[in-house]
Symmetry: D2
Subunit: 424 residues, 4 copies
């Protein structure tokens, strides 16, 4: 399924007059408009290969149809998204679901869509059919050295695949933990896990990063061995300068102040990247910005402030990835919604008057500080995101175009109504 530039141009032509109208107040009167648009153009969010099919829960899975059947089709789907929004210019693979048989061909294919390969992800939370040892009781934390070694080897293998494709980072999410009090010696589990991570770290190329993802609970329901930012920070700082913490928005206890965690990790030079999604209860993996859009904005407010304070490049110095599950939506539509929500939050954060904000803080003017953030958040920045897309060659309204073109129907025709993508 390929989108021609003509298709997009024609879609844009129908909408550009109205778009110009909406953009006019911005170009007329807002000083930073150009800067924001440029930053939006540069800002790319990686699409995880496992989010292209319908997700499920332990209670069931309701497939949608037309799901990608192999890595090539996954790349094609991300290519389609990127053609539409010009903001999804990378794909994040999951091994063993996405082992490239011919890495060179796969790179060329991705290249043809303008896609890079973002972080590669290992999987030691499931048993594969041909696997020697079982991860039932964990992987790197396991009491049995053979299981740990298998998990280490797998991660090193994932790095190798990543090198072949041009990835520059490895995301390690461990489901390790325990479901019952007593099951685990927390200290020994930590030490064994650290040992395993050190072995993997040793295999990391010099220009790579390693992301240590934390999660408060699930699938283990009493403890997790990398359970919070404090633990992830401990691992990352013991590992060395190439190791970082990865923040997934759904991996926290109720009411956690994630934006403050982001600020602290940035301050310590240990924030590595993000998994975007949204949630109301747990790791619900809902569309980014669908439940708590103000929180998403506040996180970007910290990211922009914190990265600027360290002279970091917004687009390239952190890993930006979506990690969501699409149980009741067309995955591609959902991803378009997620990307737009992230762009809007980022644009609003760029709008914040930071000098005025620091001045308000220095004067303990709480009311004014709140006003400054709310001013930015209440501003309708959708014309900016649309303009960024237009300039980069994307569609003014990607979702509308996707629907007008009946893309899902075409995918179903192509791939069948029962195709099932690998993933969760």
């Amino acid at each position: 399924m390929n989108l021609t530039t003509d298709t997009i141009a024609s879609h844009n032509a129908d909408r550009v007059a109205r778009h110009r109208q909406l953009l006019a107040p911005w170009t007329d009167s807002v000083e930073q408009t150009e800067t924001i648009i440029e930053k939006l153009v540069a800002f790319q969010i990686a699409i995880p290969s496992w989010a292209l099919g319908t997700g499920g829960t332990r209670f069931g899975r309701f497939p949608g149809g037309g799901e990608p059947r192999n890595l090539e089709e996954k790349i094609s789907d991300v290519g389609l998204l990127h053609a539409l929004n010009r903001a999804s210019g990378a794909i994040s693979l999951h091994i063993p679901w996405d082992i490239p048989q011919d890495p060179k061909a796969i790179r060329q294919l991705a290249d043809s869509y303008g896609l890079a390969f973002d972080a590669v992800n290992s999987n030691t939370f499931q048993d594969q059919p041909d696997q020697q040892e079982s991860y039932k009781f964990g992987s790197l934390q396991h009491v049995d050295r053979a299981v740990r070694q298998q998990a280490i080897d797998h991660n090193i293998d994932v790095i190798r695949h990543g090198v072949d494709l041009g990835s520059k980072s490895l995301t390690v999410w461990l489901s390790d933990g325990s479901s019952f009090p007593g099951q685990l010696n927390f200290r020994k589990a930590f030490e064994r896990t650290l040992g395993g991570l050190q072995d993997i770290y040793a295999a990391l190329p010099d220009d790579w990063k390693m992301f240590v993802e934390y999660k408060a609970f699930e699938p283990n329901f009493y403890s997790t061995t990398v359970g919070d930012w404090g633990s992830s920070y401990l691992y990352a700082s013991k590992l060395g300068p190439k190791a970082y913490t990865l923040v997934d928005l759904g991996h926290h206890l109720p009411n956690a102040n994630i934006e403050q965690i982001v600020a602290i990790l940035l301050m310590e030079g240990k924030l590595g990247g993000f998994h975007f999604n949204d949630s109301k209860y747990g790791d619900d993996d809902l569309t980014a910005g669908s439940i708590k859009p103000y929180q998403l904005f506040l996180i970007f407010n910290e990211l922009v402030g914190g990265m600027d304070a360290r002279g970091m490049n917004h687009a390239t110095d952190l890993g930006w990835m979506i990690d969501a599950s699409h149980n009741v939506k067309d995955p591609l539509e959902d991803l378009l919604q997620s990307v737009e929500a992230i762009q809007l939050a980022y644009a609003q954060a760029l709008l914040v008057d930071r000098d005025a904000l620091e001045a308000a803080r220095d004067a303990n003017d709480v009311v004014q500080a709140q006003e400054l953030l709310q001013d930015a958040f209440r501003t309708d920045v959708r014309p900016l995101a649309a303009e960024a897309r237009r300039r980069a060659g994307g569609a003014l309204h990607p979702l509308a175009l996707y629907r007008n073109l009946n893309i899902r129907d075409q995918l179903i025709q192509e791939r069948g109504a029962k195709s099932i993508a690998t993933g969760l």
Copy 2:
């Protein structure tokens, strides 16, 4: 797999001396010892047919081996548990996983183990292979009348199976709800769901009860249409006198005071039954009493107080069921642990000096009221549960006997290492 009375007798013979020693202080000095033991003997907890195999999460499932391959083997497993602890004298079936082909033979089989059939459970949260309509967007709440009718028909079908087996109640758990703001018209969803429940209620035999189970979230992650006790109560009171609320311990928001909910529902005559399990984060479905044993005791404290106040029979006037998932344990061992934890909480609740408690409350003597509950909870009542088992023909230490007999190994030999039970 069958346990002879000789096997149990021999196990008990080895332990009875030590048991008598532990029981001695009870029989010597505690007045209500006999009453408690008798009540424990009478108290039976139904085993759900779906809890006999290894559970899983959306991230994976690690089967254990020897899982029951059909309804007959499920009954056999429950029969085994009951032979061991004499407290699991009922099985709760789940349709369509457990459709009895020959109900009469199945009843005879259950009878041979001394098992009754507790509540039957419908399933409108998954699509079955041969199903006309999909439950992707709900069942009784669905906007499409055909889907609702299918769900209604299924429930009526479940009742029919239950009648064949001698069940006397139907548990309706709906996963209906929404995952995104906007998805659902809450009011219409409620009304449609009520309409469906009314149709099912109409098909209920006169001597049956209908349990309306509520759940705060999962698999829907924004709203659930029967989301809390207040909603369930509304449905149940609109339905009529045969409709009741069912409380599952894991189906609440963080920090909920479940024991108070139990007290209020009992007071209103609308508590129907229980799904026992335990949890730290969400619907973790852990072994009863494994995380918050004091909460379990406090719930039984309300049950005993509230049922006595209404002259209810502890053993028969509410439905007692386990609903757990065994991801990292042998399911049968886990169920033995759950049943014992429930028995201990019940025994401790029976120990509470209720007259003294009411006197302390009437005097606003908070310290003394707390002491009275803690006195009961801190008491080691394991000898009472063991004695109840012994008198009823069960084993003094069911778990030890189960292990000594290598029952799991036998089941694996019998059924294979790869047998997978139907269920979650």
Copy 3:
């Protein structure tokens, strides 16, 4: 402290050109603009008398200065807010903090500011100096009939004061509950509380409403006797048609879906009114919309949809009140922020295309339903709220005018830096 119409006119004159520019796209192209503005003009939010001073926590209170020293000054403060935003046209009094010595004069004073008297609030959660019985162990739930009678008499007294002032509703918030397991017989506490509420209900004039407010916890830390909407609904339905549930946004367990609760209560005809505030952790009593503005919008989305479905008048058929605490802000500034946040959420909810929303729901088009809500929420409706203020004679930017006029300084000069308002 009085604001002349000239002051406001002069403020508006400086800003009207820019305002017209921002409003232009609305008046040019949006059909419902006029309707929304009219509804905003009609929509009034009551200011609680206890929110005019600096709040505090158990750890301390940091007064700001210029706080109102008596009822007359409280009315003056609300009059000032109303002069600025023309949306705070009512005051909600708290007895015994605000007992009017000369009700007629007080009514005239309020009238001179264009203020009505909204719900009156009783206080049985504190002991007053001259009080016979103590509420240490509750009020209406208390085991001692004398305490209960004192609480009943107090509430009837509050009604009497309300009648004198032209109020039409009584808000009963009980802090009753328990801090330790065992302390309370939940059922008896419920029954005693119901009995007390019935006595108060009997004293209610025919055209009055009684609001039964619920709260999950604090100041009691184990149970509360009116703890959730289900309990409040039970009380209200047992009491009769004049009794309703009042929803305070901060009174829920973590992650509660408040908008669904609102929808259900509206559907049942038992929603009475609102206490607006915001929170991250508990009953934090923060500025409305300051933490979860999308939730506030979703609540208004249910309110607008649900009230329209019952043909209710948005402005008058529910009680709209703020209930917040201003620990680190100027209370008047905070209240201006709260009122604006509420207006914006209301305006956005009015923007929702309800026909399209129902159509999306009927088609199970989750993506489109989400888009429709997000479209409304992402729209910058501040020009509409400003226009509503302008038309009603208020200021285009109330907070800016408040600051430009140095009103707090004037209040401090008038009332002193150490004046302390009664309240929490």
Copy 4:
């Protein structure tokens, strides 16, 4: 109010026969009985000076009567507790509430009761009458250097008082944080706070420890500058070897796994001490063990295991303190309950068969690991705590003796019904 050894002897005489009966099975058959009793005798829990009066909430305070009016009476109250249970042999002071006018006399007084001085606590969360700068917007995080310096000076002053009394540690709990998004630059707040802590640390005597306490929320309701163990760990590790994290059980987000935090901090050599209490919702400051006794046991299970692994002395190498609030109980009775609950949890943790536990873990025998912990927890260890008290010269049943002697009545007579202790 002084308890003679005769009084206690007479109380014990009445109960010793029954006590011996209960103790018999222990001394007959349990190997480690003597060791546990000895450890219990050595284990002392400090009583905070601010917990001797009735606590309150922002909604009110209901004093009980007979509260200590000065430091001398506070010491007398702790002396009384210690005389009763011989496990409260230390007092933890709070400056400026407890500034000793004549330190030498105060030390002698404490000595006469057998009391040591545990950690001294600073207070920068309230403004004192004579204070130059206000802590309204924080203390060590404050943007104004003068406020920070005042807070630093105060802490150094507290150290000085502590030195005079023989304390060896300083507990710093900061309420610093923010209540609204935007209010605070998280990074700068962290850095300023760290700077202040460094200045205080520099003033710490060589043989002192500094405890950095964290708290998730309250009195700030959006962020706290020392908000979780990760933050506290960061501060403590940047400060140096004398700085440690202090864990208060009520200072976490919902569902936090505190026992794992304890294990990690111990492993890192950065756990300093404990504030015991219990809670259901937030920082409820309820009696230790009154809500989640199994959690308390699991924490002690980690403490015993983790301290033993490092060769630490249970009694002396960590700071053990109660931090509770007694809103509806006699504070002294509540403290007796707390101390006993802590002793029981400790004794049960000592009972755990650690070799068997490690063996079960090494075999991934989850069922057995759970059984081992539950076996310990289900054991009635009250006879051991009673015996430890008896041997140390305390009462077999301290609460019963306290009540029999009508001590509260005597205190009211002595100090008046309206005496109010300083504190929260």
